[in-house]
Each structure stands twice: as C-alpha cells, then as structure tokens.
C-alpha cells in the first residue's frame, strides 16, 4: 500500500509537487512561494494551459523550479462546493498522473485535517495494483509511486483521521485481491483460509465444511457444490465491537461466493466465461467489510457469513429438474443450474437468521444479468422488505459514491416461481428475472428486515475510474462500512 505521511507546511525542495487550487483563486502561501521561486513561470504556464482551478482539471509542468521534477496543478472547483469526494478524486488523479514518480508532495494548504485525510485515501485506493502473476514486466513499466506526503497546517488531525480510512482501504484491498485471484488459485477452501487471517484483527472465524453443512441439511448449497471436486465452505466471521454496554442484535452481512461459475449443466456460452472467476464478489466484499470494520475497531456487533462453492460440470453435477431440500425445509425445483447463487444464499440466509437473530440482514451477490440490463454499471440493485433499511442504504450509497437504485418486489413476481412439483422453482420467465431472483431469496429470510444487493453490474469495471483502477472494484465495502458508521455505532 502507498506510504502516506502528513507534515507541517514547508516549501518542498525536491521531487514532484502537487498544488491543489480552488477555482478562480490567486496563488497564495506555498504555491505563491513556488511561483516566485520559478520566476513567475508557474503562473504563466497555468494561464497558457487555461487552468483556473476548474473541478478535475489538471496542468502538468515539467521542472519549473530547480530541484523539482514536476509540478501538478489540480483544480478543486469552487471552494464553497468542496466535498470529501472531490478530495478523494483529487488524490486518485494524483496517484494515476504521477505514477512514474517515486514520491509526491501534495500541498493541501487551507484544507482541514479531517478533509485532507481523504486526499490520501483517494490516492491509496487508486494506486492499488495486483502484481502477483506478472513475472516479466520491466521495472520501468511498473508504477513507481511509493509514497505521498500531504502538507497542511493541522497534520496531527489529518493523521488521526486517516487511521480509520486506512483500515477501510485495507479491507478494500483484501476484497480486490480475492476478487482478482483466478479460480484455480482461489478455491472455496483457499478462500476460507484467507478469512482466517482476520483473526489477527480480532475477528472470530468459524469454518464449516461439507460434512457439517450436509449434517445441518444445506441441500440447496450442497446441490450446487456437488459437481466440483473442490469442497464447499461456509465461513462465519464475528466482530463484537459494541462492547458490553448493552446487548444488541447483531448486524448480519451475507455474501455469495461462487469461486467459479461455469453455469453447471445449464452451461454458459464460452465468450466472457472468464469473468465468472469474480462470481464470488459478494463474498469478497463481505470479507473485506469485516476486515475494514475490525481494522477500524467499529463499535458494533457484526456478523459476516459467506457461502463458498464452485459451480462445475461433471458426472456428479446437479441436473435441471432436480429437487433439493433447503436448510429451511422448503423444497426447490432446480430448473436452471446457472441460477445457483440464490441456492447458496437460501441456505446461508436461513442459517444466519436462525443462528444470530439479526437486527437486519444485507446480502450481496453478483446475481443476475438482468440487473445490468436494468441499471447498467452505475447503480447496484436494491431489493428490500424494509423501507427504513432501504433509506439508510440509499443514503450510504450516495455518501460513498457506491450508488444503489431501489427495485420493486411484489406478489405478482413471487408467483413466477411457483413449481408443479416442489415449493418453488429457481427461475421464472424471461421477464423481470432480477426481481424474481430477489423474490426467491426473500423466501429464506423468514420475515426479518433484509436487503438484497444485486451487484452483478458493479463488482468489476472494464475501465479506470477516479479512485478505482480497472478490475475488481470492491463495491459494497465502503457502502456498508458507511451504513454501519452512520447508524449503528452510537
């Protein structure tokens, strides 16, 4: 992870320097000093570049002052409209633009300590890179930025504010690592082992294997798993941060973790099937969330549960038409083996509500293609039986930029999964299939307050965005961390 330091304001003498400039403001303080040292070259260059501090605009000056390699001017827009997300985007842009430098000094004069921490946060999040399997890349092709220093008046406050942000960033990186790992490396067993690392943070981790789950009666989850030689796992992670002040119902987060999804006998088309290594992104986000909450010592009791399976084709694979008995006792006719995520969630959610009597359950899953057709790649789909929980989630999404859009539920959709032979079937017709999937899951929450986040469009990004390099986004970690922070830690 990028090394971050916060220091008192002092004119930088070497390396790359970043000036954060608000719109239509004169150079002042250290920036003015730098301009003076350059003999007015900085101001002239900014004028020629048409740079006036417009939001997101940059101007890069090469060696304008002796000793400095680069000066990057970054526009913050109107000072009155400055938000933490603008500062995070600034940090992200700085990390991307100065990747060839080894060290960057960011002058954050006039920005408060709590806010300035978000500059570093953005830079850290954007500088993530998964390098494990690049063995021949030349050194000069690799990004070199190893550290940033943020200069500001209240460095102490910034340092303190950055501590919890760094913990969340660690969680996000863990999620991105897990989601990026290929499926031959990250099997259910390996993924469960990775969860054990959370014990270092004080998380209680319990792992259930096929024997335990069969004994419990997880017929839906085990049916999905049976086609693979990789054994399934369920991991229960508990963080008890609320202390003993008073007993409260825990918050429960549940993740779909299909480490590879071939579709099973209802096999997927070959094109794009490689993407199915990230069909465990819901579980990945829950694991990263638990790391984030424990890392920043969140004052809440939280349980994360992930169901980990591989959906493969073999002589022992589950068939379309099979009927399985879920842990809840309800029977399911499996008409499409590629609608497997809901089968995994069915057993895990029923287990979660039975075992923990949760305040609420939120599950994350890369569940349907239909949600991508409905909402594209800008909003995750939110389905819920609880308006208050929904409002909190929608607000947390807006605050973190991990946006949600609420989708409907209703009896008419529920009727679509009526089966002629079992209590329900696992798919409906061609219409509204993301909603129908949510209706299916709702049958396994036993009336508890619950939200289902369909993140199939959000878990992976084909291109870089401000604070997320292309690839695994870890969508959900910041969103749910914010949900907990805003409502459940007082």
């Amino acid at each position: 992870m990028l090394d971050v330091a916060f220091s008192k304001l002092a004119a930088p003498k070497t390396g790359a320097v970043v000036l954060l400039l608000a719109e239509d403001e004169q150079l002042s303080g250290l920036a003015a000093g730098l301009n003076e040292a350059s003999g007015g070259a900085v101001a002239r260059a900014l004028e020629v570049a048409g740079f006036k501090g417009q939001k997101g605009k940059t101007a890069l000056l090469l060696a304008p002052v002796a000793g400095l390699t680069r000066v990057l001017a970054y526009g913050l827009g109107k000072r009155m409209e400055l938000t933490t997300s603008v500062l995070e985007e600034a940090g992200g842009c700085i990390a991307a633009t100065l990747a060839a430098e080894t060290q960057a000094t960011i002058i954050a004069e006039g920005i408060g300590g709590a806010e300035a921490a978000h500059i570093a946060y953005g830079a850290v999040l954007r500088s993530y890179r998964f390098d494990l399997y690049r063995t021949k890349e030349k050194l000069e092709d690799k990004p070199k930025l190893a550290g940033i220093a943020v200069l500001l008046a209240d460095a102490t406050k910034a340092r303190a504010a950055f501590v919890p942000l760094k913990a969340v960033a660690e969680g996000i990186f863990l999620t991105r690592d897990l989601v990026t790992e290929p499926a031959n490396i990250l099997t259910p067993a390996v993924m469960a082992e990775r969860c054990k690392e959370l014990t270092k943070l004080g998380v209680k981790v319990e792992i259930l294997g096929p024997k335990e789950m069969t004994k419990l009666g997880f017929g839906a989850l085990m049916g999905v798993a049976q086609g693979s030689v990789q054994e399934p796992r369920m991991v229960v992670m508990q963080w008890n941060g609320a202390g003993t002040r008073r007993a409260r119902k825990p918050l429960v987060f549940v993740g779909k973790g299909v480490t590879f999804d071939s579709g099973g006998i209802s096999i997927k088309p070959a094109a794009g099937m490689e993407d199915m290594k990230w069909d465990m992104a819901g579980a990945g986000a829950v694991i990263g969330l638990m790391a984030a909450l424990a890392g920043r010592k969140a004052k809440a009791d939280v349980v994360g549960i992930v169901g980990l399976v591989e959906n493969m084709i073999s002589g022992n694979a589950q068939r379309p038409g099979d009927v399985v008995t879920s842990y809840s006792g309800q029977t399911i006719e499996v008409l499409n083996t590629d609608a497997e995520g809901r089968l995994v969630l069915a057993d895990v959610l029923w287990y979660a509500q039975e075992k923990f009597d949760p305040a609420f359950m939120v599950n994350l899953a890369t569940l349907t293609g239909a949600i991508i057709v409905a909402l594209g790649q800008e909003h995750g789909g939110l389905f819920s039986n609880d308006d208050e929980l929904s409002q909190k989630l929608l607000a947390a999404g807006t605050e973190t930029g991990e946006k949600l859009w609420r989708m409907p539920l209703g009896d008419a959709y529920d009727r679509a999964i009526k089966s002629d032979i079992a209590d329900m079937k696992n798919i409906g017709g061609r219409y509204g299939s993301a909603i129908i999937a949510a209706q299916f899951i709702q049958r396994f929450v036993n009336g508890k307050p619950w939200a289902h986040l369909d993140i199939a469009g959000m878990a992976w990004s084909g291109k870089d965005t401000a604070i997320t390099p292309k690839g695994a986004t870890a969508y959900g970690v910041r969103l749910l961390d914010q949900l907990v922070r805003a409502h459940y830690e007082s």
């Binding site: 991508i372 057709v373 409905a374 594209g376 800008e378 859009w405 959709y413 061609r430 509204g432």
Partner: protein
C-alpha cells in the same frame, strides 16, 4: 360477427329479464339467504376471487343461472379484479347482468368496469366456429335500485371501456389491415367527438424536417405520417401533450429481428394507440384541460429503400443522429415527434408512451412499466395516477453517464449502443432526453406491460392498452382545477 367489446348499460330492477344470468357479489361473506345452502354445499365462502355458479337456485332465480362472486372485504381496485373474474367465468354467455343493488356505488361501477374490460376480445377474422376460450359476452347490465343516481360515474366507466377497447383493437389489428394510413382513418372516431386531427405526410415530412420519421418509414410501401390531435379544453393554459410511438409493423429493418415472435410486432404501435385512446376518453368526458397528442406512425420494413446502420440523419431538432441499429427505430420517430411537439404545441408538460425496449421487460417484468423523467413532480403525479388505476410505474435511472455513452464519432449523438448487457431502456431514455429541452417530460416504456400472451386475472390475451387510463387519470388529478390550471 361479434363486436370486439360488450355494450355496458345501467338498468333498474324492473328491466332485469328473468332468464338473464346474474352475478351476485358477496362482501364480507354475507351470502343471500335464498342461496346460502347451495353456497355452503359448493364450498363458497365469499373469499376474494371465489366464484360459484348455480342454476335456478331459488324461487327468485327460477329462470336463470347465478354466479356468486366473492369480494372478500371489498375495495375499489379489488372490485375491478372481481368483475374481471366474473366475466372470465361467464365467457361462454352472450348476456350477463351484475347485481349492484346491495353494493355501495364505489364498488358496483368498478365491478361492471372490470367485467367489461375483461370481456374485450381480439378482432375476429375467422370464418368458422369460434374456439371456446374466446369471450362471447356482448352485453353487460349493471342492475341498481336507482339508475339516475349513478349517472355520471357510470358514464365515465362507459367512456373508459370505449376508449380502452378502441386502443386495444387498434393494437391487435394485423399490420396488413392497420397500415399508417388505416390508423389515420380510424381516428375519424376522434374527430366526431371534437378532436382536431392534423396529418403531416408525403413531401411535407421532409419540408417540416421530420427526417428521422421519414428515414424509419422509407423502407416501406406504406408511407409514414405524423398526426397531431388537439382538444382545446376550456382552461386558459398550454396543453399537456402525449407522444406515442406508432410503428404499425416492426421487422427491425436491415438489423432484422429473429423470426420467432416477430408476429408480435404488429403491436409496436401500442404507444400511439394508448395516446389516441386517452384523447378519446378525455374528449368524451369533456375535460376542461387543453390536451394534445402527437403520433409518429411508420412501418419499419426491409427493402432497397430502407435506411441503414451507419447512416447519419439530421433530426427535426437539428441534432444529427448516427444510426447504429435500425431495430432501435422507436426512439428515432419519438425524437422527431417530441421535438415537433415542443416547437408547435408549446406544451406545459409532455409524456411519451412507447413499446420501446425489451430491456424494460427484463428489468421490471410485466407488472410495472418503467418511467423516466426530467421532472420529479411530473414523475410523482404519473406514479400517483398509475396507482389509482392499477397501471403501476417504477422509476428507473437515466444518468449523465448514459448520455455520455451516446457520444458519436461522426454525428451529434448515437442512437443506441451495440451489445446485449447494456441498460438499453435507460440509454433510450437518455437519447430522448436530448430532444425535450427544459420542458417537463416523462417517458413511459411499456415494452414489458403492453400485452399478455395468455389471459390472466385482469387482462384477456392480447394488448393491455397499459398507460391509457393512467394518462386520463393524470389529467383528472392535476390539470383540471380551474383555480390552478
């Protein structure tokens, strides 16, 4: 030959013929004493949706059949559904009566309305016997104590039936019968009730700059047209304008559709039919609100004249459009219609209705239509109107990112994106939003709700005219108050 819809009339007890089959609604389990024993034997409790048919069950009903109809605890929306259930159960009869004498007014009229709407049937072109599952009902009488008292309310229900059935029949007509020109001829029904009908066609389309509409219609031997319907109303306010997609048949054009289900595309003018039907309803009930509609009529065919993917066309608004997929033609004709409406009708609000995308059905299924809007108040009013008539809407996102995604290398805007896993309904809305300026505008995508393959509780098989009652209700809720026109 049977007309496609039943006649709906209001009668007093004296006019009820002794042999007419009578529907007896049962609220809260209160079964009439003279049939109670038979009801108990048949397991009828009066629960919502329960029906039981009895033949000559008592001296009062010595010459007729009776259908007991359970309303549960009752409620207006439920009453429509119950009426539909009654019509479905008695579809083999020509003439039925509904006993409204023991019902509050708020229930008896919706009950009759629900029955009449459910009794609509596809236009029948067959020569021989009608199959059993086609509803035969051609007369429904609502029996009440005092027919005078229900007058206006009942008349509005009659108007709703007339307008909805008009739109459904238009939508169901095969495309060799209902060409753009034939569609226009059918609008004479609207002229008779005081709606002015203006038609722009032939060379005038190019003269007006309606090039997108012309391009879509160019491949067909049945030429396109833009139709403007105007109802002046009495209030001093700019009109609310409806815009409808009227593709009388959609082959997809050069980007041709697959053969399975292509027959369904005769209904791709459903949006225009809904708008025309709403105008009919509003004029028949003499709304004081000025209302207009613009219908973009064309047939999207494949021929040597057809427009091509890759073509660039200048729209009525002036924006140039790069064609990516000739099967995304609806948004093209709507773009010109919206822009024309803005320029010539200067509406206070504009609502378009279209069978626009498959994506909206994938997103929301067949229960709710998607609504996109640049105006929160208009969207909320539409949603409220929809709740009232059980044509429910769900708002879907339309973002700057969707707009940005339509950047073209060669023109001002691209019509759509290629590929399957794209939010095509949102992209279509984002495309349309470029043609409405700042006028409050909403777009209702009925791509999933426009028809039923099989009859269900509420709808017979075929078109639903989803959106028609909603538009009528929108005007009633928001635009008829003389103090706040």
């Amino acid at each position: 030959m049977l007309p496609p819809q039943p006649a709906l009339s209001l009668i007093g007890s004296a006019e009820l013929a002794p042999q007419t089959t009578l529907v007896i609604p049962v609220i809260g389990g209160a079964i009439p004493a003279d049939v109670a024993a038979a009801a108990a034997a048949g397991g009828f409790t009066g629960a919502k949706g329960d029906t039981l048919r009895l033949h000559a069950p008592s001296p009062d009903h010595a010459g007729r059949s009776v259908l007991l109809l359970g309303l549960g605890k009752g409620g207006e929306a439920k009453a429509e559904a119950a009426g539909a259930a009654a019509a479905a159960a008695l579809g083999s009869l020509r003439h039925i009566a509904i006993d409204g004498r023991a019902l509050p007014r708020g229930l008896s009229v919706p009950l009759a309305l629900g029955a009449a709407l459910r009794a609509w049937r596809m236009p029948q072109y067959r020569q021989g016997e009608m199959p059993d599952d086609i509803c035969r009902i051609d007369r429904i009488d609502l029996v009440v104590e005092d027919p005078e008292r229900l007058g206006r309310r009942f008349e509005e229900a009659q108007i709703t039936v007339e307008a909805v059935c008009f739109a459904k029949t238009l939508t169901a007509e095969p495309s060799n019968i209902l060409t753009p020109a034939a569609f226009i001829k059918r609008l004479s029904k609207l002229e008779k009730v005081g709606i002015a009908v203006e038609v722009i066609e032939g060379k005038a389309l190019a003269r007006e700059g309606l090039n997108l509409l012309a391009a879509v219609g160019r491949g067909s031997a049945n030429p396109p047209a833009l139709v403007i319907l105007r109802w002046p109303g009495t209030l001093d306010a700019p009109p609310v304008t409806f815009v409808g997609k009227g593709i009388t048949f959609d082959t997809g054009g050069i980007s041709i559709k697959s053969a399975d289900h292509m027959w369904d595309m005769r209904g791709d003018m459903g949006g225009a039919a809904v708008c025309a039907g709403a105008m009919l309803a509003l004029a028949r009930r003499k709304t004081p609100a000025p209302v207009s509609a613009v219908l973009a009529l064309a047939e999207n065919m494949v021929s040597g004249e057809a427009y091509r993917p890759g073509d660039v066309v200048q729209s009525h608004s002036g924006l140039t459009v790069e064609i990516i997929d000739t099967d995304a033609e609806g948004r093209l004709v709507l773009a010109d219609a919206l822009s024309y409406a803005l320029a010539h009708l200067k509406p206070r609000a504009i609502v378009d209705v279209a069978t626009l995308t498959y994506a909206v059905g994938a997103a929301l299924g067949q229960e709710m239509a998607g609504v996109y809007a640049n105006d929160t108040v208009l969207a909320a009013n539409l949603a409220a109107a929809g709740e009232k008539v059980s044509e429910r809407l769900w708002r879907l996102p339309m973002t700057d990112r969707d707009r940005d995604a339509l950047a073209s290398d060669i023109a001002d805007i691209k019509q759509c994106l290629a590929g399957k896993l794209v939010p095509d309904a949102s992209l279509a809305a984002a495309f349309l939003s470029r043609f409405v300026g700042d006028t409050p505008w909403a777009h209702i995508d009925i791509g999933g709700t426009d028809a039923r393959e099989e009859a269900d509780e509420r709808y017979p098989a075929g078109p639903t005219a989803f959106g028609l009652r909603l538009l009528d209700q929108l005007i009633a809720l928001r635009y008829e108050d003389p103090d706040h026109p």
